[in-house]
Point group: C2
Chain length 313, copies 2
Amino acid sequence: MSFTKAAAFAPATVANLGVGFDVLGLALNEPGDIVIAERRDTPGAAVRLIENDGGILPYEAKKNTACVAAESALRLIGAPSGVWLTIQKGLPSASGLGSSAASAVAAAVAVNALFGEPVEREALLPACLDGEAVASGYHPDNVAPALLGGITLATGLTPAQIHRVPVPERLHLALVTPNIAVPTAEARAVLPKLLPLKAMVTQTASVAYLIHTIYSADVAAMGQAMERDGIIEPARAHLMPLLDEARVAAKTNGAHGLVISGAGPSLCAVCDDGDIAAQVAEALRHIYDSTGIGCKAFATRVNEAGARVVATE
Amino acid sequence: MSFTKAAAFAPATVANLGVGFDVLGLALNEPGDIVIAERRDTPGAAVRLIENDGGILPYEAKKNTACVAAESALRLIGAPSGVWLTIQKGLPSASGLGSSAASAVAAAVAVNALFGEPVEREALLPACLDGEAVASGYHPDNVAPALLGGITLATGLTPAQIHRVPVPERLHLALVTPNIAVPTAEARAVLPKLLPLKAMVTQTASVAYLIHTIYSADVAAMGQAMERDGIIEPARAHLMPLLDEARVAAKTNGAHGLVISGAGPSLCAVCDDGDIAAQVAEALRHIYDSTGIGCKAFATRVNEAGARVVATE
């Protein structure tokens, strides 16, 4: 069975989880991007329309993450025709919530749906990575959870190297995206090139402990473990306005930890209750609104399902 | 209730588990050291006798790991008198099986037993660390599993920073100790002082994956995960004779992975069956015996209980 039109949603994601730089990520229930794929006779993928991006995303096929992912997915499934894409952005770019990954994943999933889902979800990972690579190189830490959902641990770029760890039942999140762009390239440029062996030992202990806390479903310890990053956050903190104030506000309101989401400037606070997460989101909103920076702040949970097909016709 | 004499056993341990350098460790059912503590009127600890050490361990109180741990334990519990120690070595020194940690832990546990166990097992950790420090600095990766048993993850030096992870039910181990000494100081001196960020990312992914495989009770994946150390083993491999040959032999005989135990030269192979572990131990024995190096090789399992009091009178 195949269709003339298919739409897919892919969620925002929080990469790194503090100590899990380039390794761990999780999917959020919302927000997310929707990509609609429609058949066209010409082979390959082309962008028909991009909505709600503030006019900043490229229509040129080779520079558009959704388009490159769609092209790669078309090749992967040996599609008999090409696609037009309509990209409905729900995520702001350069916000640290995996915007480029969400578009790439939604495009690949929409293309697969358009042709009757000839391949399994996991098999779309390489196509999604091709799309993400246009924006920020080959990194699975946003793409994997956007595609597969849950909390993912990436030990490499193949589907067999993406591992799901259990989502603690009481895990609630509060997120804030200040109105300031932090380009991923800049956030990577400030990282140290070389590290002392001792710093590596501390970081491996911390990430091992984080996985232990996740399996133990101990959200309080999980929040503390995520914060034990002695390498990435210290190098990037100066790019994140009001980070210290946000952390204090989050904890004062009951969060167990707060980390930079991906390359920032979004911040993610870990809570063990939905009401607390809502209260923490409000406290974070106040931090940025009261200083004139402005922000979006919201409470949400981990999206266990990942990307999904939302319509076919 | 207190006694005039108490004896405690503390097991050999495998530190590092490959990718968990200075962070992970596990206790073995055997071999181990026994320390007998007897009351004496003079305060403090002194060594009466050391058995089976080949004459190499120091009798001087400040240089003997068991004696320093006993002194520290006496202070910790506020003991009313001192102790004489008899140390029965079951472990060879400088073998990578936590020899100094086993003596320190057995001494602390014996002292606590002698005075009627005034403190909990966990509370003895600082005393054990004081003893171990005489031999190789403050490292909990041997001391923690020797004291507490099981597989331990250390995020610091306090009892609250030692975390037990579950022992996979099917985990069996094969060990070999070649007849060659690798002093811990030398094995540390060859390590790189600085590492590329990328190497740190790979190592954190590997150790996170190892904890995931342990919680998944997937012994095959656990063996593979342990071997993914791209930093420590490459730097130390030249100190370990026949490492490559031993790894091939272990895997040919059914092991899922083989790593250097602690600072070596002992090697530890991960198996999922007792018969296979026995066969792997024989294959490892053959490697070293046939080349004239000689060795001890044996199959064993994880010691879940850790150190134990073996006699009081």
